[in-house]
């Protein structure tokens, strides 16, 4: 039973079938939408309007399919098949200590001709000619015959393939290491507010939070830089965690005891206070996510607040807007909706107050907020190692076009019979062309 299983796994046809199944499943899965390809509203709408289709997407679209037991099983079988094939090829080499090229010499091509010059003359011309074309030559005598043998190209094609598959196996291994030991969560922080890491982080697997250090953290000195007032240039700040200050920016994550803090989102956070008959009805820093469209916040049971920040406010007649995306002249548009319908609206300059309907609205200051991805990734080292090994193997395999030739010179009358035979493992037509070119060049040189 095990022997039969090993035979199946060792078959390259099985590997090709497994790869085909994975490919077809992946292609089919990309047709279905998911949380990545749809905005959050669209995904929620799909769940409401087409529950059956939603269920299908939730099971078979790519991010879900790749976690399904069937897909994982096929991938595991492909891993086993690659492992068994590679080990088998290696053991074959170990047994005989010779490469596949020596045993298989897959393709050969030969030409024979008579040249009107003695073997000494032909040898004297052939050797420099071949060496000039990059052949590594050796000569020997076999009775009256002279044999020139040559080799060209890197002779590591077999090893290139083995190394590539070894790298691939390491990449396969990186996945379970990442899944079993990694951590990933989101952290939304407003500038200057200190929070305990374990409570602030939002992660799909709550139990993982216990693996995080029990420390407080805060973000400070958040800054954004624009070119011409609208093109993003640089965003970052300092992460204060466990008594350490770690600068971070886009592409330059902060690192703390194996955890990486990568900046994902950056936005304005105005402080908004609403008072109704001298009573505070609303007092929050609002992390605005949709800078140009505005955000909604619940005010009470029936009412909600719509807030839009103009960082560089401008008004021309009835039209209002922002000149740039930089915080130069910040003004808030505050609208109060009841049952989805606007009832009051007003503008509040930052640092000032205004009356909107029954409310006294105050906006004392604007801070920034950030969304950081917190991650721990032990699989990355294995993955990078696998990639380096795999890419190295592919490079060797690409460069290696190992081929050899023999030139047998047999005296015949006053001349020489030349038998030229080339061997190649990979490219027979190019070998044929090369052998013909050598034969022609030899002809031309002898005639000259």
């Amino acid at each position: 039973m095990i022997k039969r299983l090993l035979e199946i796994l060792n078959s390259r046809t099985s590997a090709i079938w497994l790869l085909s199944v994975i490919l077809m499943a992946l292609v089919a899965s990309t047709i279905l939408p998911n949380e990545i390809t749809l905005p959050p509203d669209g995904w929620a709408l799909l769940a409401q309007q087409k529950p059956l289709y939603f269920r299908l997407c939730e099971t078979f679209s790519t991010p879900y399919l790749v976690k399904s037991p069937a897909f994982l099983l096929v991938t595991f079988l492909l891993f086993l098949s690659t492992l068994v094939c590679t080990v088998n090829r290696l053991s074959g080499w170990w047994r005989y200590k010779i490469s596949e090229f020596t045993t298989e010499r897959a393709f050969s091509f030969a030409v024979a001709e008579y040249l009107e010059a003695g073997p000494d003359v032909v040898e004297g011309i052939a050797l420099p000619l071949l060496r000039g074309k990059g052949w590594d030559c050796a000569k020997e005598k076999d009775g009256a015959c002279r044999i020139i043998s040559g080799r060209k190209g890197i002779r590591l094609g077999f090893w290139g393939s083995i190394i590539f598959h070894g790298g691939l196996l390491l990449c396969f291994l990186a996945v379970p290491i990442s899944v079993l030991t990694g951590f990933s969560g989101q952290l939304v922080l407003t500038e200057g507010m200190t929070l305990p890491l374990r409570e602030a982080v939002d992660t799909p697997i709550k139990a993982d939070v216990k693996t995080l250090p029990s420390v407080n953290l805060a973000v400070e000195n958040l800054h954004g830089q624009y070119a011409k007032g609208r093109f993003k240039v640089q965003f970052g700040g300092d992460l204060v965690i466990g008594g350490k200050r770690l600068p971070f920016s886009v592409n330059q994550p902060g690192k703390y005891v194996g955890l990486q803090f990568s900046l994902q989102e950056f936005g304005f956070s105005p402080h908004l206070v609403l008072r109704e008959r001298e009573q505070v009805a609303f007092d929050y820093f609002l992390n605005l996510r949709h800078g140009e469209d505005g955000d909604y916040f619940p005010l009470n049971k029936d009412m909600r607040l719509f807030v839009l920040l103009f960082p560089d406010f401008i008004q021309q007649g009835n039209k209002i807007g922002s000149r740039t995306r930089e915080l130069k002249n910040p003004v808030l548009l505050v609208r109060i909706d009841r049952d989805g319908k606007p009832i009051h609206q007003g503008l509040v300059k930052i640092g000032a107050s205004a009356t909107v309907g029954d409310y006294q609205v105050q906006a004392p200051e604007v801070k920034n907020w950030v969304n950081l991805t917190v991650s721990r990734e032990y699989g990355l080292i294995v993955l990078i190692a696998g990639m380096i090994v795999g890419i190295g193997g592919l490079f060797i395999r690409f460069l290696s076009n190992e081929r050899c030739l023999t030139l047998q010179l047999s005296p015949q009358g006053a001349g020489t019979t030349v038998a030229l035979r080339g061997y190649s493992r990979y490219y027979p037509a190019f070998l044929e062309k090369e052998v013909q070119t050598i034969a022609q060049a030899l002809d031309t040189e002898i005639e000259r």
Partner: protein, 272 residues
């Protein structure tokens, strides 16, 4: 884009359009000089495109590697560079211009339609890994496209052998050239995926996330891996191998134009 860049880009596109007409004329009406003119026009178009790339680089202050237009501009530059390199190493492959020229026009046209506004380098793109990622991406796509052209030439030559088609290389040589091109592209795409994963880890805190672009890059790499296995291990040859080279390009086309099939983290790398 700047005025100089615009003029140079249109000149290069005119060069590619005329080159396509010349190659097509040569093949259909069996005029043997026309492919020679076509090759020269591609060189002329390439020279103008090189100047357009320099003009863009100078105006923005960074290598043109950001968003669709810049990727089209630099990508086609690499494609034509690889085509010329191949033509020098293996002159009969000049006829591949009949595929390279219209494809260049298509990609550049798509880039222009999306928009060519001059922008400074966004923070998400400020990584050395980006340059490795983009460089190898275009080397691999260029190689795959030439393998596709090779497959088309094989199928044409296999059907008939008169006029310009008769001057195409021997079928066996075409078959092996396609294998070499795919092998090179496969290697370059592996570097592209590897460097992309490392860049993604620094940027998003994870090396793989099954984003549509990531998924399609893996699919297209696996398709070419399968292609190589079918040819080297199972010995697929001749027409089957040529159809494989032609069909495999669809994964790459879907990868390039696939943004329309839903949003991707690749289109908005850092939100503000």
């Amino acid at each position: 884009m700047t005025r100089y860049e615009e003029i140079l880009l249109w000149l290069s596109m005119a060069g590619y359009a005329l080159a396509f007409a010349a190659f097509l004329n040569g093949m259909v009406f069996k005029r043997e000089r026309f492919p020679v003119y076509g090759f020269r026009l591609i060189i002329g178009g390439f020279a103008c495109q090189t100047l357009a790339v320099i003009a863009r680089w100078y105006a923005t202050g960074h290598a043109p590697v950001m968003h669709t237009y810049e990727n089209s501009l630099i990508g086609i530059w690499f494609l034509v560079l690889i085509y010329q390199g191949l033509s020098r190493w293996f002159p009969p492959s000049r006829m591949f211009g009949v595929v390279v020229a219209p494809f260049s026009l298509l990609i550049l046209g798509n880039g222009l339609l999306v928009g060519a506004e001059l922008q400074p380098l966004e923070p998400a793109f400020r990584s050395n890994w980006l340059f490795i990622h983009v460089l190898f991406a275009w080397f691999s796509f260029g190689s795959y496209l030439l393998a596709f052209a090779d497959g088309i030439m094989y199928l044409l030559k296999e059907r008939g052998s008169s006029g310009t088609v008769a001057r195409l290389p021997d079928l066996k040589l075409l078959e092996e050239l396609s294998l070499r091109l795919i092998l090179f592209g496969f290697f370059c795409q592996a570097v592209m995926i590897g460097s992309g994963a490392i860049w993604a880890h620094g940027l998003w805190g994870r090396y793989w996330g099954w984003d549509p672009v990531e998924t399609w890059s893996l699919i297209s790499w696996l398709v070419y891996g399968l292609n190589l296995h079918l040819r080297i291990t199972l010995g697929w040859k001749g027409k089957k191998a040529a159809w494989l080279a032609v069909g495999s390009l669809f994964g790459i086309i879907f990868l390039f134009f696939g943004f329309g099939h839903g949003s991707s983290i690749h289109t908005e790398m850092f939100a503000q």
